[in-house]
Symmetry: C2
Subunit: 213 residues, 2 copies
C-alpha cells in the first residue's frame, strides 16, 4: 500500500475533528446570545442580569473552543510534513525494488548479459539514494510526530485551563441569584447584585489575559 | 410572543451543541486508532509504540469529550422544566387578559349589563390563579436556571480537569521518543522505553479513576 495513505486519512479525519469543535464554539456563542435574550424577556431583573452575564461567560467559553480548533489545525499542519516526506520517499523505494527485480529476472533469463553489470551499478546508486531518503524519513517522522502532538496536547491544556477559569466565574455569577421560593403575591427583594456581577466579569477578563502556557 | 418560544429555541440549539461535541469525541477515538495503525506500518519500533500509546491517550480524551456531551444533555434536561412551566403559565396569563378585555368592551357597549358583575368575579379568580402561576414560574425559573448552569459549568470543569491529566501524560509519552537525527546508514539505538510507556498509561488510568468533582 502507498506509504502516505494512512497518514493522509488521519489528516483528513483531523480536519473533521476541527470542524466539529469550530461548530461547537460558534453554537456556544449563539446560545449565549439566546440565553441573554430569554433572560431579558422574563421581566425579572435578577434573572435578566445573571442570564446576560452567564451568557458572556458562555460566549467566552465558545471563543476558547474556536481558538482550540485553530490550534488543532496547527498540529494538523505539522503532520503534513511527515506525509509529504513519506510521499517523496515512495519513488525511491520503488526504484530500488524495480532494479533489484530486473536483475533477478535477467539472471534467470540471460545470466551472461553485459547489462547485468550496468544494473548492479544502478542498484548500488539507488540503494545509496534510498538510504539517505529513509534516514530523512525517520528523522522527519520522529521530529514532526513529537511536534504535532506536543502542539495538540498544549492546545488541549490551554482550552481546559481557560475554560476552568471561566466556568468557576460562571458559578460565582449563579451564586448571586437568590432562588429561595416566593409565595404568591409576595414580591422578591429588589435585585442589587449588579455591581458584584459586573466585577465577576472583570475578574474573568483579567484571568484570561493573565493566562500563560 | 409565546412565552416559551425563546427557551424552546435555546434548548434546540443546545441539542446541536451536544451533537458537535459527541461527533468530536467519536472522531477523536477513530483518529486514535488511525494513529496507532499508521505507527505500526512505519516499521519503526519506537514510533510504533509511542503512536500506539499516544493513541490510547487520545482515545481517552475522546471518551471524556463524549461524557461531556452526555453531561451537557443533563443540563439541557433541566432547562426543559423552565420551558414546561412557561408553557403552562401562558394560558393563565391569556385567560386573565381575555376577561379584562371582555370587561372593557362590555363597559363601553353595554355599561349596565348584569354580565359585568359575573365577569368581574371571574377576573378576580383568574388573577388569583395567575398570581400563583407567576410565583411558581418565578420559583421554577430561578431554581432550574441555577441548577442547569451549575450542571453545565461542572461538566466544563470535569472535561477540562480530566483532559489536562491525560494531555500531561501524553506529553510524557512523547518525551520518551528520541528524535535526535540519524545519519544515513546508521541505525537508531534499539527502542527500550516500552515499559516506561506502559507505566505512563497505567498512571493515566489511575489519575482518571481517582478524579473527583
Amino acid at each position: 500500500p502507498e506509504l502516505s495513505r494512512k497518514l493522509f486519512r488521519l489528516i483528513k479525519s483531523t480536519n473533521n475533528l476541527i470542524s466539529h469543535h469550530e461548530a461547537a464554539g460558534k453554537e456556544r456563542v449563539s446560545i449565549a446570545t439566546q440565553l441573554s435574550e430569554w433572560g431579558e424577556q422574563t421581566g425579572d431583573d435578577g434573572v435578566s442580569d445573571i442570564s446576560d452575564k452567564v451568557g458572556v461567560i458562555l460566549s467566552e467559553i465558545g471563543e476558547v473552543e474556536e481558538a482550540y480548533a485553530h490550534n488543532l489545525d496547527e498540529a494538523r499542519g505539522v503532520l503534513k510534513a511527515i506525509r509529504n516526506t513519506e510521499k517523496s520517499v515512495q519513488p525511491s523505494r520503488d526504484n530500488k525494488d524495480k532494479i533489484a527485480d530486473e536483475i533477478q529476472k535477467l539472471k534467470f533469463k540471460e545470466p551472461s548479459s553485459t547489462r547485468l553489470v550496468v544494473l548492479e551499478n544502478e542498484l548500488v546508486r539507488a540503494e545509496a539514494e534510498n538510504l539517505v531518503a529513509e534516514a530523512q524519513l525517520s528523522n522527519v517522522t520522529r521530529e514532526k510526530l513529537k511536534e504535532a502532538y506536543e502542539t495538540e496536547f498544549a492546545a488541549v491544556i490551554e482550552r481546559a485551563e481557560k475554560q476552568i477559569m471561566l466556568a468557576k466565574h460562571g458559578r460565582r455569577l449563579l451564586a448571586l441569584l437568590d432562588d429561595s421560593p416566593v409565595t404568591p403575591g409576595d414580591g422578591r427583594p429588589a435585585y442589587n447584585q449588579g455591581s458584584q456581577a459586573r466585577q465577576i466579569l472583570d475578574d474573568a477578563e483579567d484571568d484570561l489575559k493573565a493566562w500563560q502556557p
